[in-house]
């Protein structure tokens, strides 16, 4: 699976042109792992393959796609080819040294005749310019890929990376997470972001690499459900801070009671992608264990949609077992989001990849590097759910010998093996590797944050896309406080479809591995599945091709050992048909429950109206019948109220109250007349 991108591989003509524009200012540094660069750029296996295979054709497409809002699926794949124009944009934008160097480069390729260019460059002259690019440099120029394109988003992304890591670490250590977030305004568009947790802490020797090196982490090389995946997150946040304020990242970490806490101040040497330790001493810290990071950065704080405030509220919904303490900036009141569940979610197990969906290149390198000595045992060792029987079947289907040495397979043979895999029935990956929030806790989370009148939640059984297990759940909260303000005349909120339509589109909360997604909603599979669902049949108005309307919050959570995001900033889930299908099914289940509720409510309202009518006339009727027959009026009144309740699906109380008043008033009026 480790198909690496080497700058010198591929078509020299195409690359040469790119390089001519892209030439790094600083010399490549030995020792920066190429491997890491490959992973970082591609983000995920599939992507790296795509890049290496298709870089030629991608190059030309990359230009129009460089701005934000690139086609979701492509963003991951084209990273390498795309970086030239993107870097130019970024460089010009932030005015960094590298950017300026780039700005001095020749005019864009489109203005040049390609034939001429080719003649100008020789393979040798190009070779002189071909060298490695540090991943830190790459992301300095392409910081939008990581979610640092605008000051508002940068602030949110920094908080997000910190909180994600804190939750991941605490959970992995079996600690109920308690996370404190603080935003301190220290100047115009300048903030200090503080994220502190009660996690296991980070051992002293690892701290510099974790925070001062991109693509360094514990989560990439395994298939296990976690919030972080790439080993970029927190170091990228630190790098952004460093870039915009020149300040180091400050880390305090303690790994256990009685041990000393370490205080670090770290900057990243971007050209070499290595940490530079500015401060390193021990301090006293009242916590038993945990990590505190402080990043100073350029950012803007705002409330409302996509704000840090909202993000943390959503974190609380997705993580009912987490406690969140939040101190917003600008003298705002601190926020405490307590736990809704006192138990950690079950620990997701780590799995090996599932044979379904493994890519040819990945299979190839896997067979090369395996320690197994036969083809059959290689398949059993490297994949999950492959028994001896299954392995044999795959190999036979491919027309190969099970005892062959894996390394000896010719490319054509690997290909037939690859073709054979989908033809053999293999069990789905063990579901224990994905841990959903769970129906009950989704509900708890929604109830804690939203005072609605109706909740519905659904957790789908686990499923598989491209060999990766995943699980979808959905929850919705409808009505109640979501309905907004009371009507002008002070009457309670009107309900029904028309009122729902006035509310505008619903709010969609998108979650991936318990992380709320904030940006790129319309590029997300959850959004598309929601739009594709026919909500009208469940009683909500829905314009064609749009979200349904009404006072509703809809939560969609996709949990997976590997969530397929459309870009490194992890904001939108890719449109795998299997994922779309599961989301739709989850939405349907929730929708049906909502539909049932809305119908019941409609019925109740109708019955209430009827009850009101009957109640109104019962008082009169009792008077008339009392006069005609001299029956005991109060007894008759009670009997009629009971009857009315029976005939309107309601309780007698609702009837007794208004009619008593009616009778009382009439009597009083009569007495007055006399």
């Amino acid at each position: 699976m480790d198909v690496r991108i080497r700058r010198s591989t591929g078509s020299p003509v195409v690359l040469g042109e790119t390089d001519a524009e892209m030439e790094p200012v600083e010399a490549p540094v030995a020792g920066v792992p190429m491997q890491a660069a490959g992973r970082g750029a591609g983000g995920r296996r599939k992507s790296t393959r795509a890049v290496s295979k298709k870089r030629g054709e991608k190059k030309t497409r990359a230009k129009p796609a460089r701005k934000r809002g690139t086609k979701p699926r492509r963003a991951g794949k084209v990273t390498t080819a795309k970086r030239a124009p993107a870097a130019r944009t970024a460089g010009a934008g932030n005015g960094s040294g590298q950017g300026k160097a780039n700005g001095a480069e020749p005019a864009p390729a489109t203005k040049r005749a390609p034939a001429k260019t080719r003649r100008r460059m020789s393979a040798e002259s190009m070779a002189g310019r071909q060298r490695e690019i540090s991943v830190s440099e790459f992301f300095t120029k392409n910081r939008h890929l990581l979610g640092f394109d605008s000051p508002a988003r940068a602030l949110l992304t920094a908080v997000k990376e910190g909180v994600d890591n804190s939750l991941d670490a605490a959970e992995e250590a079996g600690i109920l997470p308690s996370v404190r977030v603080e935003l301190v305004e220290i100047g115009d568009d300048r903030y200090r972001v503080v994220v502190e947790d009660n996690g296991p802490g980070i051992v002293k020797s690892q701290v510099p690499k974790v925070f001062g090196k991109l693509l360094y982490g514990s989560k990439f090389h395994r298939l296990r459900q976690s919030r972080g995946q790439q080993g970029i997150g927190i170091s990228a946040a630190g790098m952004y801070g460093q870039l915009t304020t020149g300040k180091p990242v400050v880390i305090t970490s303690k790994t256990g009671k009685g041990r000393s806490a370490h205080h670090f101040e770290i900057v990243i040497d971007t050209s070499r992608n290595t940490p530079e330790i500015i401060e390193d001493h021990t301090v006293k810290w009242e916590r038993d264990h945990g990590t505190r990071i402080e990043i100073e950065l350029e950012g803007t704080y705002k409330g409302g949609r996509r704000s840090v405030d909202e993000y943390l509220e959503q974190v609380a919904i997705a993580n009912p077992h987490a406690e969140i303490l939040y101190q917003p900036p600008k003298g705002r009141a601190p926020v405490h989001l307590p736990r809704a569940a006192e138990e950690l979610p079950p620990e997701p197990t780590e799995i090996k990849p599932h044979p379904y969906g493994v890519e040819l290149g990945a299979l190839q390198s896997l067979l090369k590097e395996t320690k197994a000595r036969t083809l059959s045992s290689a398949l059993q060792q490297e994949f999950s759910r492959v028994s001896a029987k299954v392995a044999e079947r795959i190999v036979r289907t491919a027309g190969l010998e099970p005892r062959r040495r894996p390394r000896d397979l010719k490319p054509a043979e690997v290909e037939s093996l690859h073709r054979a895999i989908p033809r053999v029935k293999i069990y789905a990956p063990p579901p224990s590797c994905v841990v959903p929030i769970g129906e009950h806790l989704v509900r708890c989370g929604l109830e804690r944050e939203i005072q609605a009148e109706f909740y519905a939640c659904t957790t789908r059984p686990p499923s598989v896309y491209r060999g990766n297990p995943f699980q979808v759940e959905a929850g919705l909260a409808y009505g109640g406080a979501l309905r907004g303000f009371v009507e002008e005349d002070g009457s309670p909120h009107s309900t029904g479809r028309d009122a729902d339509a006035q509310q505008g589109p619903i709010t969609l909360l998108r979650m991936a591995n318990r992380v709320p997604l904030q940006y790129q909603q319309s590029a997300c599979a959850t959004f598309n599945a929601t739009v594709d669902t026919n909500w009208r049949q469940y009683g909500l108005p829905q314009p064609k091709g749009a979200l349904p309307q009404g006072p509703m919050v809809l939560l969609v959570h996709v949990a997976s050992v590997w969530v397929p995001f459309t870009s490194e900033s992890k904001e939108a889930i890719a449109h795998y048909p299997e994922i779309l299908k599961e989301i739709r099914l989850a939405l349907k289940e929730c929708g049906r429950k909502l539909g049932g509720y809305l119908r019941r409510r409609e019925h109740q309202k109708r019955e209430e109206r009827r009850r009101g009518i009957f109640a109104m006339y019962i008082g009169e009727l009792v008077e008339s019948l009392g006069n005609l027959t001299r029956v005991d009026r109060s007894k008759l009144q009670k009997e009629l109220s009971r009857l009315a309740a029976r005939h309107t699906d309601g309780d007698a109380e609702a009837i007794v109250a208004p009619t008593r008043r009616v009778r009382g008033r009439r009597k009083a009026a009569k007495e007055e007349a006399r």
């Binding site: 009827r610 009518i613 009957f614 006339y617 008082g619 009169e620 005609l628 208004p658 009616v662 008033r665």
Partner: protein, 370 residues
């Protein structure tokens, strides 16, 4: 001829019917069912002509009016509200107009902006519903319409305790009240041999002035146009109780025929009253379409039939009680000639032609239709 009114019902009958209606409702409530009253449908589809008794009658169709039905609850309540008010009227032995009753029963329903009745148009049909439901006339429930019509003749009756000699009432006559039930009106002494109901007040006055009733031993009555309920009910009672023939004199036009038709068979709208109002044996004395020839009237008294006249005439051709040949001839003749004739047209032959020539001859020669 003395006639002690034969009471068809005991006094207090209506009051007990009202009470029974209320008790029925209470029973239904106690039984836990949706209380409902069955009301004979007052629809055209539910009206039929009883050939044997030759009156218009309500059929057997009923409509259900239930309390626990959003569309019926209000009317259900109103039905009992009116019933209760009528009971009060009967208890207090007072009569009142239906307009009065509307005001008596109208009030805001406690705690709401709704009234029990919003307008009289709402309460009138409820009264009619109540009439058919308990099979009593509104007059029996002490509800009256305004007086209309007058009567003179060789008859003495008691009206609300006062004895009235109908021979001594001058030019105006006795104003016929709308309630002429046995408890209000009793017949005493009667020397009349027939009753003459005329359409118009003017004609009635002519006949009264000419003392037609005296010469021909008649009771002379008019309804000032379409005979009101009081007049019809009184005619019915006189025919039944005094055993007198009833002659009807109306204009020679479709409307006149219709007035006769209502007196004879009852109206379609209020078919339920027929039994106690219709006089199937009523005799149509005039004016006939053949009268101009018979009495040699000049053609300049004719009026052209207009379109509505034509339409109405054609409709009436289909009435079962006009099926007989004589009637068909009569109406076809009118349609063929295309003209109509007012009673007053007879005055062209002399001011007292009607009382001295026309009526005596027609009755004598039995030139009437039944």
């Amino acid at each position: 001829m003395s006639a002690r009114p034969r009471k068809r019902r005991k006094k207090g009958d209506v009051a007990s019917k009202l009470r029974e209606l209320g008790e029925g409702a209470v029973r239904q409530i106690r039984a836990g069912s949706n209380p409902a009253v069955q009301i004979p449908a007052r629809t055209l589809a539910n009206v039929k002509y009883d050939r044997k008794r030759s009156i218009i009658e309500l059929g057997d169709q009923t409509q259900t009016r239930a309390l626990f039905n959003v569309g019926q609850a209000r009317k259900y309540m109103q039905t009992f509200l009116v019933a209760s008010a009528c009971k009060d009227l009967l208890d207090a032995a007072k009569t009142t107009s239906i307009r009065d009753l509307y005001y008596i029963t109208k009030h805001t329903i406690g705690g709401t902006k709704q009234n029990t009745f919003e307008e009289q148009e709402e309460s009138d049909p409820i009264i009619e519903d109540l009439e058919v439901t308990i099979d009593s006339l509104r007059e029996e429930m002490n509800l009256f319409a305004s007086n209309r019509g007058a009567m003179v003749g060789d008859l003495t009756l008691v009206d609300a305790g006062d004895t009235i000699d109908l021979r001594r009432l001058g030019s105006g006559g006795w104003s016929v009240p709308s309630i002429v039930e046995e408890n209000v009106i009793q017949f005493k002494r009667c020397n009349a041999k027939m009753i003459l109901l005329v359409e118009k007040d003017a004609v009635w006055r002519r006949l009264n002035e000419d003392k037609f009733w005296k010469k021909h031993k008649a009771i002379l009555i008019h309804g000032n146009g379409m005979a009101p309920r009081g007049v019809r009910r009184l005619c019915h009672r006189m025919v039944k109780e005094l055993k007198l023939p009833l002659y009807v004199l109306v204009d020679n036009d479709p409307w006149g025929f219709y007035i006769y038709s209502v007196v004879k068979q009852g109206s379609i709208n209020l078919a339920y009253e027929s039994v106690r109002m219709a006089v199937p044996e009523a005799r149509f004395v005039g004016l006939s379409s053949f009268d101009p020839k018979r009495f040699d009237l000049s053609s300049n008294v004719f009026i052209r039939l207009d379109e509505t006249d034509q339409k109405r005439a054609k409709q009436m051709l289909a009435y079962p009680w006009f099926e007989r040949k004589a009637w068909q001839r009569e109406m076809h003749k009118m349609l063929k000639e295309g003209v109509k004739l007012e009673i007053e047209a007879l005055s062209s032959k002399g001011i007292s032609f009607i009382s001295e020539e026309y009526l005596p001859r027609k009755i004598r020669e039995r030139q009437y239709l039944v």
